[in-house]
Amino acid sequence: MNAFEVAGTMLLAGFLPLVWCAATRRAVDGLVALELAGTLTVLALLCFAEGFHRSFEFGVAAVAAVAVWTGGLVFARFLGRWL
């Protein structure tokens, strides 16, 4: 394993407290945890793309950055309207 694979794995480990936060607290707290999980996903994709020497997969991280943003907006809009 190289440094990027270790970093990506540790970033994925950061999901555990976020899942617990989303499962046990209010919906808006879950949304905040979801947004941070999205950021961790983008960073983990960057690390794994470099760690596995697949530079064409950096595009996946760019698409994920936009998808995370769009999904977060949809949830924020939904929670703001139908609580």
């Binding site: 990027f4 407290p17 905040v32 941070l36 950021t39 960073l43 530079s55 760019a62 924020a76």
Partner: protein
């Protein structure tokens, strides 16, 4: 030979700092008392930790096609996130008004 060694050290230091910052944000979202404080930590992950990881990638990839896509990913995250934060803060305010009302 020396350059390769220095590059590896730089990558390790940048990655360690970036991952530590991101995990610190996870702890912040977990332990902070109010939802607004948690939102602050969720937003912080798109700034310093993201650029540290990006710097580590650029040390290896230089500014080739992969490097440019990595810059695009972190740049998009950094520039788009304030819009998402504002929408989330409005949803939080409505949620807390609904509870008080």
């Amino acid at each position: 030979m020396v350059v390769a060694g220095a590059g590896n050290i730089a990558v390790d230091v940048l990655l360690a700092a970036g991952v530590a910052g991101a995990l610190l944000c996870c702890v912040g979202v977990l332990v902070m008392r109010t939802t607004y404080d948690r939102l602050h930590y969720a937003a912080a992950a798109t700034t310093v930790p993201a650029f540290l990881v990006l710097a580590a990638v650029l040390v290896r990839e230089k500014v080739g096609s992969g490097g440019l896509e990595a810059i695009a990913a972190v740049g998009l995250m950094f520039l788009l996130n304030p819009v998402l934060l504002t929408a989330t803060a409005r949803a939080i305010r409505k949620a807390e008004e609904g509870e008080d009302g």
